[in-house]
């Protein structure tokens, strides 16, 4: 694939996500380490022999928070004290974890949000101008 020659960095990560609609990370050819963040050096065995690896985008919710006091850019999107949003940690089915927005849950009722639930990547929701990972209940 032509895309596999992209450098291992955040620009490439975001381009895959927004243009190619794929969650692409890296795999170490030496030890098998997987990382959804494309890093140029294996943090397990320090090999520099890495390759792009596509993640399925399926995972489960490991923990989360519902945020009432957000940063300026979330406040500008209408979130706040009366409309908290949910962000959390997703364990991908391939093993690694990643931070993400969690859509399709009620930020005002965190007691109803269940850790362990299955999630899928909500690629269609990602804002190409401000890309970030978004998951929703599977």
């Amino acid at each position: 694939m032509a895309t596999e020659t992209r450098p291992f960095n955040a620009t490439s990560f975001n381009a895959y996500l927004t243009e190619d609609k794929r969650l692409m990370g890296v795999r170490c050819r030496a030890c098998g380490m997987l990382s959804p963040e494309p890093r140029p050096l294996c943090r397990s065995c320090h090999s520099r022999d890495l390759e792009w690896h596509e993640f399925s985008g399926r995972g489960e919710l490991s923990t989360f928070t519902c945020i009432s006091i957000g940063p300026v850019y979330m406040v500008e999107q209408g979130f706040g004290r009366n409309n908290p949003y949910c962000s959390g940690i997703v364990t991908l089915e391939e093993g690694p974890r990643i931070s993400a927005r969690i859509l399709g849950v009620d930020g005002n009722n965190p007691q109803n949000i269940r850790t362990g639930m299955d999630l899928v990547l909500a690629l269609e929701e990602i804002d190409p101008e401000h890309p970030s990972l978004m998951f929703r209940p599977a």
Partner: protein, 425 residues
């Protein structure tokens, strides 16, 4: 390949001979240089045998982000000038909320290296000139700007996620979090320098009184817990964390004077020695080994214990980094004071209270004393210095054999952790 010795020993011993703090609070008129001078003056005023400022050879300034808070980078030479110390070498150290914990280590190593005998180490932060959302944005820069921040995770948010994981895995519940706040405010009420020199019971009573005076509906609180469960008094910040689970936004500075131990008695008859020091780096929460623990804290503690030749059981008083209530519970486990998951029970049993067997955050902690992020690491050390010298006033730990104390200073959400172990004498 390379020979790495396993020793972590200093070429020569280093002692603390003085400590100072500015007031901690919201000071509209004061810039960070003013706060630092205030802390330094407090140090000078309480230095047992006085000193000549000209004898200070080198200084370190822990500061998280005057860049973003005050549009002032390169703060070190400004502090030097304001203290009348130009041209000595002065260096700013930044490791987020562990900035001055790291600065202390640099001061220790500078003396141990043989380069200097007398080093000033301080830290400061001027935070209250930004609105809360602005502070939230600045603090978020301690997390990963590429893979964490864009997901909306804030600094309270990441600790909220840790709290949720801890509650899922262990017996910890929302009430435990609030108990940390209640305990630390009780301690803070005994600390005249604290931003919240007041108990939560006092705050509750004030709210009732104010409602009465204004003819508003008077809340029916039977206990602090009722008050803390009232969303009007204690709104959510990042579920499961509420306002009273969070350290406040604070302006403040703190500093300590380090000297080679062989000259410590020129300054005081009651020096405190650096027995051990450890620092470690950690990854974003999603890459942490555990969602219920900060691995950098465990590693830093292990190194500090090894260097000091003590174990967790030997620690008699500790200042830990309670930027959020859950962080104190996690710290008490990471430091080995209690088994993983047992921190909440220890709290229930009052073991970490001022009169418990493992008093934690006698100063009020970041929660009640205040958390000017770049100053907090050194302010913790100042508290242990005072405790070991028996000069902590109303909040003095009642233990005639008090000899060994510990500080635990966390940068961001565990990207950095610094643990220092201090010994009387």
């Amino acid at each position: 390949m390379a020979t790495t010795s396993s020793r972590r020993q200093l070429g020569r011993s280093v002692s603390i001979v003085g400590a100072g703090m500015s007031g901690f609070g919201a000071f509209a008129d004061k810039d960070s240089r003013d706060l630092f001078v205030e802390a330094f003056q407090d140090l000078l005023d309480h230095l047992d045998q006085g000193m000549d400022i000209e004898d200070i050879e080198c200084a370190y300034v822990g500061n998280y982000s005057s860049d973003l808070f005050e549009h002032q980078g390169h703060t070190a030479p400004i502090i030097a000038d304001w203290l009348g110390m130009t041209p000595i070498p002065v260096t700013r150290i930044e490791n987020a909320c562990a900035s001055s914990g790291s600065a202390l280590r640099e001061g220790i190593m500078a003396i141990a290296s043989g380069m200097y005998d007398i080093v000033l180490v301080g830290g400061m932060e001027k935070m209250t000139n930004l609105p809360t959302e602005g502070v939230t944005d600045v603090l978020a820069t301690a997390a990963d700007a590429l893979y964490e921040v864009p997901t909306g995770l804030t600094f309270p948010g990441i600790f909220g996620a840790i709290a949720k994981a801890h509650m899922d895995r262990y017996e910890t519940n929302l009430d435990h979090l609030l108990k940390v706040a209640i305990k630390n405010h009780v301690n803070g009420s005994k600390n005249p320098k604290a931003q919240f020199n007041v108990t939560i019971r006092n705050l509750m009573e004030r709210r009732v009184t104010r409602a009465e005076q204004r003819g508003q509906p008077v809340p029916d609180y039977n206990s602090e817990m009722d008050f803390l469960n009232d969303p009007g008094a204690n709104p959510w910040i990042a579920w499961p964390l509420r306002l009273y689970d969070c350290a406040p936004i604070t302006d403040g500075a703190a500093c300590v004077l380090l000297v080679a131990s062989d000259i410590a008695h020129n300054f005081t008859d009651k020096p405190v020695t650096i027995a051990g020091t450890g620092q470690a780096s950690g990854r974003p929460l999603h890459d942490a080994d555990e969602l219920t623990s900060l691995s950098a804290a465990r590693t830093a503690a292990a190194r500090a214990y090894e260097m000091a030749g003590v174990t967790a059981d030997d620690i008699q008083v500790a200042e830990v980094h309670d930027c959020f209530t859950i962080a104190e519970i996690v710290a008490s486990e990471d430091l080995g004071f209690f088994e993983p998951g047992e921190g909440a029970r220890a709290l229930d049993e009052g073991r970490t209270a001022l009169d418990g067997d493992k008093p934690i955050n006698t100063s009020g902690g970041l929660k009640a004393k205040g958390h000017p992020v770049g100053a907090s690491g050194v302010a913790q050390v100042a508290e242990i210095f005072h405790q070991l010298r028996g000069e902590a006033g109303e909040r003095q730990v009642d233990n005639p054999d008090l000899e060994v104390g510990l500080t635990h200073n966390v940068g961001g959400t565990g990207g950095t952790c610094v643990v220092n172990i201090l010994r009387k004498g």
